[in-house]
């Protein structure tokens, strides 16, 4: 069932322009280093290793795409590549999904 989500995401070469959101089965628990994300469907635990990535992830659904979410969170554009990679990895672990 969850595998069906992958084709929606994988062909999109530019994560920055994608409308994204937190997977509805994922819970975020704040921690000093960032957050723990727990996926209730696949029971996987994922570490969000910086507080600002947590802010970005939480705000994804409030914005039309990742780029806008990064701007809204005051992330400098030279850091966007790093955020692109981090979010891509969260998409792979199904913490973040296309909406």
């Amino acid at each position: 069932m969850r595998r069906l989500l992958t084709p929606l995401i994988a062909p999109d070469p530019d994560v920055l322009d994608s409308p994204l959101g937190l997977h509805p089965s994922v819970a975020l628990r704040p921690e000093p280093f960032g957050a723990l994300a727990y996926h209730y469907d696949n029971r996987r635990l994922v570490f969000l290793k910086h507080p600002s990535i947590v802010d970005v992830v939480r705000s994804l659904s409030d914005h039309p795409d990742l780029r806008t979410a990064l701007e809204a969170n005051g992330i400098a554009s030279e850091q966007w590549d790093a955020y692109d990679r981090a979010i891509t990895s969260l998409i792979e672990s199904e913490v973040v999904i296309a909406r």
Partner: protein
């Protein structure tokens, strides 16, 4: 990763996962039982108290608990407790010997959400398994696994404690799991509980540990280990996982009477942090106990400080050292550099587990008669 591991070592606001032994009652009498289970303790938590613990776990955002025992399904309120947890968003993985899983129970379990099951066996065949877990226990577990597979439960776990006898059966165990659509989970034998008396004969030899390390490197992606074998990292290439002792930092144990210990393998007064019945409950124990504060502080490498492998193995397992009478700041008894064997030779006295719930003799249980 290093910064993250450092953060974990200094402790989290709530555990990542908790082991919760629901009862000391058990119909088996496995020779390595880490909680010396057999007879129920009259002071075990009531249903209402168990619900109270779950309320705390939910508000701390503990995502899941590993429920065990004893045999947890012996508790008459077992399903009430599981339902209450999963209904609260606290996922459950429970360990069982399979005695109480018949076709109907398997169907019921398959219909439940946020639930995972771990069936324990300690060998790929009846002879090897039953030597540790008792006569008939392999057949019982096998039947439970077949019921789960037939009920389309999905990928349940088969949990194996690695011993000198079954470490040669890793391929067979993996094949057994594959054949049932299950995932194999391997954990390390600790000298805890009744294991205090049997560890010396049962733990894998040094050569076997090398074979195990190679096997885990080759199959690690498909096999769960609960980060059990990080002491093997001193052999070279690191196994997947956090490579740290999580006791009191990211994990802990709640025992059937509500006592909170640093980990499931150290049921001893020295590692008792408090009780969930105390003022402030589990939350306060986790966040404020002196013991946990100590475990989250910097740990000395002690006698291992001059060893080049310490970064890789972190000195191994606290419980393994404690119950073999070794100092906590020295080598693990199964140190792959061989230092543990030398240290063990010098041990004169060994701590005993704080309590023994063993039955006078194993109870014969027939399914449907509880």
């Amino acid at each position: 990763m290093t910064r993250l591991v450092e953060q974990m070592k200094s402790g989290l606001d709530a555990p990542i996962c908790i082991t919760w032994e629901l009862t000391y009652a058990c119909n088996l009498a496995c020779v390595h039982c880490l909680s010396s289970s057999g007879r129920r303790d009259p002071r075990e938590l009531s249903t209402a108290e168990a619900f109270g613990v779950i309320d705390e776990l939910r508000s701390m955002q503990v995502f899941y608990v590993n429920i065990g025992g004893g045999e947890p399904m012996i508790r008459r309120d077992f399903f009430d407790i599981v339902d209450y947890a999963t209904g609260s968003g606290v996922g459950v993985k429970f360990s069982t010997n399979g005695t109480f899983i018949d076709a109907a129970r398997a169907k019921q379990l398959a219909s439940m959400e946020y639930l995972d099951i771990q069936i324990s066996i300690d060998g790929a065949d009846e002879v090897t398994n039953d030597r540790v877990r008792g006569a008939g226990s392999f057949a019982t577990a096998r039947r439970a696994m077949e019921h789960l597979a037939a009920a389309d439960f999905g990928e349940f776990k088969i949990s194996v404690v690695i011993t000198r006898d079954n470490v040669t059966q890793l391929d067979d165990l993996l094949a057994l799991a594959d054949g049932l659509g299950a995932q194999l989970r391997l954990t390390r034998l600790r000298p805890s509980g009744r294991g205090t008396d049997t560890w010396h004969e049962l733990h894998p030899t040094l050569d076997q540990q090398r074979d195990l390390h190679r096997w885990l490197l080759a199959h690690g992606e498909r096999v769960l280990t609960g980060d059990s074998f990080f002491h093997l990292n001193a052999l070279g290439e690191s196994l997947p996982g956090l490579n740290m002792c999580g006791a009191g930092r990211v994990v802990c144990l709640i025992d059937p009477v509500g006592d909170v210990y640093a980990c499931p393998f150290v049921i001893h007064d020295e590692f008792l942090a408090g009780n969930v019945r105390d003022e402030g409950g589990f939350t306060r124990v986790w966040r404020s106990s002196d013991l946990f504060a100590d475990l989250r502080g910097p740990q000395s490498a002690g006698a291992c400080a001059s060893c080049g492998a310490w970064d890789a193995c972190q000195g191994g397992c606290m419980a393994a050292k404690f119950f073999t009478g070794l100092p906590l700041d020295g080598p693990d008894p199964e140190c792959v550099g061989g230092d543990g064997e030398d240290a063990l030779a010098a041990v004169t006295s060994v701590p005993r587990p704080s309590a023994d719930h063993s039955s006078p003799q194993p109870v014969q249980v027939v399914l449907g008669q509880r």
